[in-house]
């Protein structure tokens, strides 16, 4: 097979003052027709920059400063901007990560797809309309005739991504670049979109450059893999060879960091409950005037769970399943409507605001986004000490304690004087942990604590969490959408769907032998499931 797109020792220069001089150095890659090349790497590895360099859509101050980008034998790095515009969309099309923001919110889906034809062809309006409808049918959007007239906000994430794919494939491009197209989607939707991409690629013989950070996705769809780190390709080869027998140390480390899907043998657990969730419900009502036309959303519906002392209870589910609402109810950031939440025998749900503030000593929360959940204007040490100060500890003593906590979570105690933006994502999540642990809580509620982190950092934070659980005798409620992560840290798991708990039990049993149809579907949707299980066999 002759490659359609070849990157020959391409380098991309970053502006002065960046953390490294080149976003990409001597990157050599090639994709042939009818082939999916996965470019894998962690954030900052230069994988998205590769896509932007091929399209010549680099941000200001960033420029290609070496090498050739050959598309059908022509060097794209050298052609004029007008020539390049003819290639974009028609020759090389692109799908982006965020289907939410990658479509113009003010124009209809049909209009935005039709634009592809308007730019590159002379087709009549009617012909374009027929083509758009055919495209939407091809990507299997439900009710294509309606979808044409729909605005992006009226579609779900998966449907939006289908529309994006329809748009990208409108002119049958030779090359499709997909930049993390499924990262923002739920696992079941992700499985469908991956299947769609592979299916269309097979049928049309498109060359696909698929950028991802997820080895599961790689195992699912890649023919060949290129692993990037620090702007360089460190390893490249046939997918099975790279996954089964990685040569480069970095690849090995990355693959080892992917949590296997099978749970480790169960730990012995006491039966004494520390936190009991008893028939908790929370309903949201929106709109309507005097009760007319009101829309009722059951965010959490009659959920009952028990967390034994020292155990970790995982709550898994897709977006909109109510898992985060439940977590917030536990610490009373949201007031549950009915039901009891008993912590050490005391019902938190009926406490007054004042009493609850005192009770927060015993139950603390860690949030998902380590970038947004720390006040950027306050020093990290102060953020950690704040809880102690509020609960009556002297300031100097609290700050000293913050230093100890920094050491506890594996940060340099001298770093308490720094501001949150001076830390990396993983370090910030450690600060978040230190903050939650400052009051020595009995129960830690962790809402997606590792989902914003790179896989190797994620592994470190999970290890830290396991250590702390052991050392401090913590009980943890762990909210996640990632079943691999859940399998590694949880003793018990509850699966939620549309506010209801559909299945709960010891993790080994639920994941090993799922009873509910939804749990089965969820487990079947995990990309590269076989890869995970095979690896499990190797580890064992």
């Amino acid at each position: 097979m002759t490659p359609i797109l070849v990157l020959d020792t391409v380098s991309v220069k970053l502006p002065e003052g960046a953390d490294r001089s080149h976003a990409m150095s001597d990157v050599t890659l090639s994709v042939a027709a009818n082939e999916i090349l996965c470019v894998v790497g962690e954030s900052g590895s230069g994988k998205s920059m590769t896509a932007n360099a091929i399209m010549r859509l680099l941000p200001g101050g960033v420029a290609i400063d070496g090498g050739r980008i050959l598309f059908e034998g022509r060097d794209l790095a050298g052609v004029s901007e007008a020539e390049m515009r003819k290639v974009r969309g028609a020759g090389i099309a692109m799908i982006f990560q965020e289907p939410m923001t990658a479509l113009n919110p003010l124009r209809t889906i049909g209009d935005q797809i039709a634009e592809m034809f308007e730019i590159h062809t002379d087709l009549s309006k009617r012909e374009i309309a027929t083509r758009v409808l055919a495209l939407l049918e091809e990507v299997r959007i439900p009710d294509p005739a309606l979808a044409i007239k729909a605005y992006p906000h009226e579609l779900s994430g998966g449907q939006r991504q289908r529309a994006m794919i329809a748009m990208a494939l409108a002119l049958d491009p030779r090359v499709l670049i997909a930049d993390e197209p499924t990262t923002a989607l739920d696992v079941t939707t992700q499985a469908q979109i991956l299947e769609l991409i592979r299916d269309l690629q097979k049928r049309k013989g498109t060359a696909v450059l698929f950028i991802t950070h997820d080895f599961g996705v790689v195992a699912e769809i890649a023919d060949r893999v290129a692993v990037m780190s620090q702007g360089r390709v460190v390893e490249q080869g046939v997918a099975s060879a790279v996954l089964e027998n990685p040569q480069h140390a970095y690849t090995r480390q990355l693959i080892a960091a992917v949590p296997p899907l099978k749970a480790p043998p169960p730990r012995p657990l006491g039966t004494e409950p520390i936190l009991t969730i008893d028939h908790v419900s929370k309903t949201y009502r929106t709109g309507g005037f005097l009760g007319r036309g009101q829309r009722v959303t059951h965010a959490v519906k009659d959920v009952s769970l028990v967390l034994p002392k020292g155990g970790t209870l995982g709550i898994v589910g897709e977006s909109g399943s109510g898992k985060s609402t439940l977590a917030r109810c536990l610490v009373r950031l949201i007031d549950p409507e009915s039901g009891e939440i008993r912590l050490n025998g005391r019902d938190l749900a009926c406490l007054t605001r004042e009493e609850m503030r005192a009770e927060t000593r015993h139950i603390q929360m860690v949030f998902q986004d380590p970038f947004a959940s720390l006040n950027p204007r306050r020093k990290a040490g102060e953020l950690v000490a704040q809880g102690l100060i509020v609960h009556g500890t002297a300031r100097s003593e609290a700050l000293a304690r913050a230093k100890e906590l920094f050491a506890l979570v594996g940060l340099d105690p001298a770093a308490t004087d720094r501001y949150p933006h001076e830390f990396s994502g993983g370090q910030r999540q450690r600060i978040g942990l230190a903050r939650a642990l400052a009051l020595e809580p009995d129960v830690l509620v962790a809402d997606e604590p590792v989902s914003a982190l790179d896989v190797s950092v994620q592994a470190q934070v999970l290890k830290l969490l396991a250590e702390l659980r052991q050392r401090l005798g913590l009980s943890i409620v762990f909210i996640t959408h990632d079943l691999r992560v859940a399998a590694q840290v949880c003793d018990l798991v509850a699966v939620m769907k549309s506010g209801e708990m559909v299945e709960a039990g010891p993790i080994g049993e639920v994941f090993g032998n799922p009873q509910h149809a939804y749990t089965q579907a969820l487990l079947a949707s995990i990309p590269g499931r076989d890869f995970g299980l095979r690896r499990q066999a190797e580890v064992a």
């Binding site: 974009r88 919110p105 003010l106 730019i119």
Partner: protein
């Protein structure tokens, strides 16, 4: 349908606003010393207490505060604005005479500000940190920082007195009695300077807003999608950026309609235009409560109407806005 439902809701919501404004102004004026009769007596050169009492009885000023307010509101419901004792005409007639000048001035100034604010904002954003941007931003700052009355006076000195291109004031030339097209052209000539004076200040604001929101929208993901489709920059701006960037500007217009009405008082005074702003000022001085309340009523209607149109426009521009939520 969606837009109509929204329109209905907004209209219903504006009625209480209107009444609150009217009651507020009515009460506020009661706190000011003196009333219409005092002002009239002063004009007549004084009079005895009996005449004053009779006049008060005639105008219903001897009633209790509540009764006066109720009377006024009841008349308003029947769209009767009352009688101006100072001008000796129904208030509605007085206002109707003055309204066209103000409406014309406001519409012209707003259109000027919106149109050139938009264009200059786009040009500045396209050439951000280049000479176009620097030039436009500096000009904007100059117009924004200059007091309106001073700008008006300087315009009169330069264009009316020194160059003698344009008339120094007034709404039209009343000495010749023009009709038809000639009259229209005459009015336009008279309004050029007032429009520039009022409009350039708002243009400076709009151009800054437009520049800012353009820069913001240009960085959004869907603009990258549009570029990846192979669109050229001009098309990207016209088809994808502009409408998104317009949203904050449209909001601002609704908010500033009221401010602009206030600003027209100064401009009307400088250019001696027979407009609503000057009428309001004169009514306050003469304690002409009926006329003043009439003006407040009409101005409130005007502002509500502008906001209503802006709301509809906004809903038309942004499909995410619905009547339900």
């Amino acid at each position: 349908m969606r837009v109509l439902a929204l329109a209905g809701r907004r209209l219903a919501a504006s009625i209480p606003t209107l009444f609150l404004i009217l009651i507020g102004v009515f009460l506020l004026l009661q706190f000011a010393p003196g009333d219409t009769v005092d002002a009239m007596m002063a004009q007549m050169g004084g009079g005895d207490a009996t005449t004053a009492r009779q006049l008060r009885e005639f105008y219903g000023l001897d009633l209790s505060l509540g009764a006066q307010l109720a009377n006024y509101l009841w008349r308003l419901v029947r769209l009767d604005l009352g009688f101006s004792a100072i001008y000796g005409k129904p208030v509605a007639t007085v206002i109707a005479e003055r309204l066209p000048a103000t409406l014309l001035l406001m519409t012209a100034a707003l259109s000027l500000a919106f149109f050139f604010g938009l264009i200059l904002g786009v040009v500045a954003a396209r050439g951000v940190n280049k000479w176009q941007d620097t030039l436009i931003s500096t000009l904007g700052l100059v117009f924004y920082a200059m007091p309106t009355f001073w700008f008006g006076l300087m315009a009169i000195i330069v264009f009316a007195i020194y160059l003698q291109w344009l008339p120094a004031g007034g709404f039209e030339d009343i000495t010749v009695g023009l009709t038809g097209l000639a009259r229209t052209l005459d009015i336009i000539r008279h309004l050029v300077l007032p429009t520039l004076t009022l409009g350039l200040f708002y243009m400076a604001i709009y151009l800054r807003i437009m520049r800012g929101s353009m820069l913001e929208v240009l960085n959004l993901d869907f603009v990258r999608t549009a570029r990846a489709k192979g669109m050229d920059e001009t098309r990207v701006v016209v088809r994808h950026v502009l409408r998104n960037a317009l949203l904050p500007m449209v909001t601002l217009i609704g908010l500033q309609a009221g401010t602009m009405l206030g600003g027209s008082v100064v401009v009307e005074s400088v250019f001696s235009l027979p407009g609503l702003g000057r009428l309001a000022y004169e009514s306050v001085i003469q304690r002409d409560l009926n006329t003043l309340l009439g003006i407040v009523f009409v101005s409130a209607l005007l502002v509500i109407a502008v906001n209503f149109i802006v709301d509809l426009l906004y809903a038309r521009l942004d499909p995410r806005i619905t009547a339900g939520r």
